[in-house]
């Protein structure tokens, strides 16, 4: 062993130790990141899954013509406007005959969601032969009972801290004993828009709002951004002016999104007088925000096309435009579409700029066009989170789950496109 070998051997221990320390730190970082992710996902799924089912109560409803059509007119309009609450009340009183006082009766009736009156009306008008017959229905409970049923630990709360009184809890338990309470699929959550009553609120309105908004965003930002990217990368002369534009596009990508909202408010609403809360305007604002992302992705994937392909085309006598449209652009399409989808999923999760243009409104109807007032998924989640009623807690988590599902779907789609169309040179 000569002198140098000894010096190296001495320091080797220390060098190896620092390497293993670094390795350990990296591992710790990854483990903590994954465990935070698991905790977050677990708590959201745990809470959110409750919103996918709802408490339903079995009642025998007698379609009494004396109540629904006292004049015996047989007119549909008469039947449509009748008081179906009385039917539900009669059925409940039939089960609890000793509830006498008006207040107690009202308390009892509050067990069933008010939305069920309309459902009973629909059932009857669709099949008028049900008149004066008795039929079994699984009716949706109101949110308070639903919350108690989903969170059994609340039963042990003191009466004043509980959502329902001891009396109401007793009635509910009586129904349970009679096997008249079950969990059913919460269809309303996937078909309705927002509502003041948690059990009647759904995510579909904001899903459609997001869809219309993103459609406008894609329609505007994709062609403009690709055209801009191609122009800057392939056609524009490389001079000070184009360099200035490039720098500014890169800076735009880092501008806080709420600024784009303010811009939209100032120009689209105040100058152009477009409708407030409309997906059209939301899409335009998000398009502004998405443009730099797609331009940058377009330029990066254009740059990745080997210059030998351009030379081959130009050497064959293709014009600049033919070179781009026949060869360069098709080859960079996988990269451009990946960038576009990433930009779109960014836009899907964006709420701040939409608050500025009034997409934060309480919308009860599912939007049907680009001009209908609507809200979007992240804003709906924000709205539910800031509502006081206890029933919205599960809805908020379920909304997050729906949003996450869309994001994961879009991002996996981007990964698949990239993997599938990746060219090997």
């Amino acid at each position: 062993m000569n002198k140098n070998t000894r010096i190296i051997a001495k320091s080797l221990k220390k060098r190896n130790r620092s390497e293993s320390t670094f390795r350990l730190m990296g591992l710790l970082g990854i483990i903590s990141a994954i465990s935070f992710l698991v905790i977050i996902l677990f708590s959201i799924i745990n809470e959110g899954k409750k919103a996918f089912v709802s408490t339903q109560i079995k009642l025998d409803i007698f379609f009494d013509s004396k109540i629904l059509d006292p004049g015996n007119s047989g007119k549909i309009t008469e039947i449509e406007n009748a008081n179906y609450q009385t039917l539900i009340k009669a059925s409940l009183l039939n089960f609890f005959p000793d509830v006498k006082t008006r207040n107690d009766q009202r308390d009892l009736l509050s067990m069933i969601s008010s939305s069920e009156q309309e459902n009973l009306m629909r059932t009857l008008t669709n099949d008028i032969s049900l008149m004066n017959t008795k039929k079994e229905f699984w009716l949706k409970s109101s949110s308070k009972y639903d919350v108690i049923n989903k969170n059994p630990e609340m039963i042990d709360f003191a009466e004043e801290d509980r959502l329902i009184s001891n009396q109401q809890l007793f009635w509910f338990n009586e129904l349970k004993k009679d096997n008249r309470v079950k969990f059913g699929f919460n269809k309303i959550f996937f078909t309705a828009a927002d509502s003041t009553e948690p059990e009647q609120a759904g995510i579909w309105g904001s899903v459609m709002g997001s869809f219309f908004t993103l459609f406008v965003t894609l329609l505007l930002s994709f062609p403009i951004a690709v055209a801009a990217g191609v122009f800057l990368e392939e056609l524009a002369p490389k001079n000070r002016f184009t360099h200035f534009i490039e720098v500014n596009i890169n800076n735009l990508a880092a501008v806080p999104s709420i600024i784009f909202g303010l811009l939209g408010l100032a120009i689209f609403l105040n100058v152009m007088h477009l409708p407030r809360s409309a997906p059209l305007v939301g899409g335009m604002v998000l398009a502004l925000m998405t443009l730099p992302t797609i331009i940058i992705a377009t330029r990066a994937s254009l740059k990745a096309v080997p210059p030998s392909i351009r030379e081959a085309a130009i050497g064959m006598g293709a014009t600049k435009m033919q070179t781009v449209t026949h060869h360069v652009l098709p080859l960079s399409m996988p990269g451009i579409s990946t960038g576009t989808i990433i930009g779109m999923s960014q836009a899907l999760g964006e709420s701040a700029p939409l608050l500025m243009i009034g997409m934060v409104a309480f919308i009860v109807d599912v939007p049907e066009s680009f001009l209908d007032s609507s809200t979007v998924l992240p804003v709906q989640i924000y709205l539910w989170k800031s509502t006081a009623a206890r029933g919205f807690v599960e809805l908020t988590a379920a909304g997050v789950l729906v949003l996450l599902t869309f994001l994961i779907l879009m991002n996996s789609f981007a990964v698949i496109i990239r993997k599938k169309f990746e060219k090997k040179w």
Partner: protein, 256 residues
Amino acid sequence: MVNKKNIKVLTKKVSVFYGDKQAIKDVNLEIFENQVTSLIGPSGCGKSTFLRCINRMNDTIDICRITGKVLIDNDDIYKATLDPVLLRARVGMVFQKPNPFPKSIFDNVAYGPQIHGLTNSKEELEDLVVRSLQKAGLFNEVKDRMNEPGTSLSGGQQQRLCIARAIAVSPEIILMDEPCSALDPIATAVIEELIDELMQNYTIVIVTHSMQQAARVSQQTAYFHMGNLIEFGETSKIFQNPKNKQTQDYITGRIG
């Protein structure tokens, strides 16, 4: 023998500048019809740059500037009325690294005729593709897999595909920029044989690093050094009896 040949390309005092740097200095050169002219010289001597002047490929580089005259059939190719697209249909090019389009073998060869609208029917186009592949000596190897991507071929086959692609538009001149530098000796031999055949119908200018190759395939040789044309003449004379000391040093392997 030389005197019987027509001059196809004539350059008069051609200089090329990249920004402030001069890459080519006052080159006067005659390229004869239906002959192979090879450009040799050490790396960075400007031979590729000179080659790219003949089909105006240098136009695609922003900072590149050319002075002097390049005449093809006595016609200035840098005059304002001439469209470089038309020129490049007359002057085909084969590059150092085989660069087939990532499309099918058929589409690679059919591309030129398609963009220039040279054929009127599908049958005519197919016929042209087959003939071009035959001329490039590739048809027998690929006739059963015309729809496979051109990039799936071997390096030598890819280069012959690029030659087929170039001759599909029937150019008058074919420029080759070190066409064999990325190929093994066997593939190189095939290409060299092909060049010998192509000479009958086309005027060929080839840049090469291999002096043996220049000696094998060309009738005329130009030796470039530091952007200057040092010596030009019949290949046999250049290699056996160079007039210039620099040329002698280069071909005997003392420099470069």
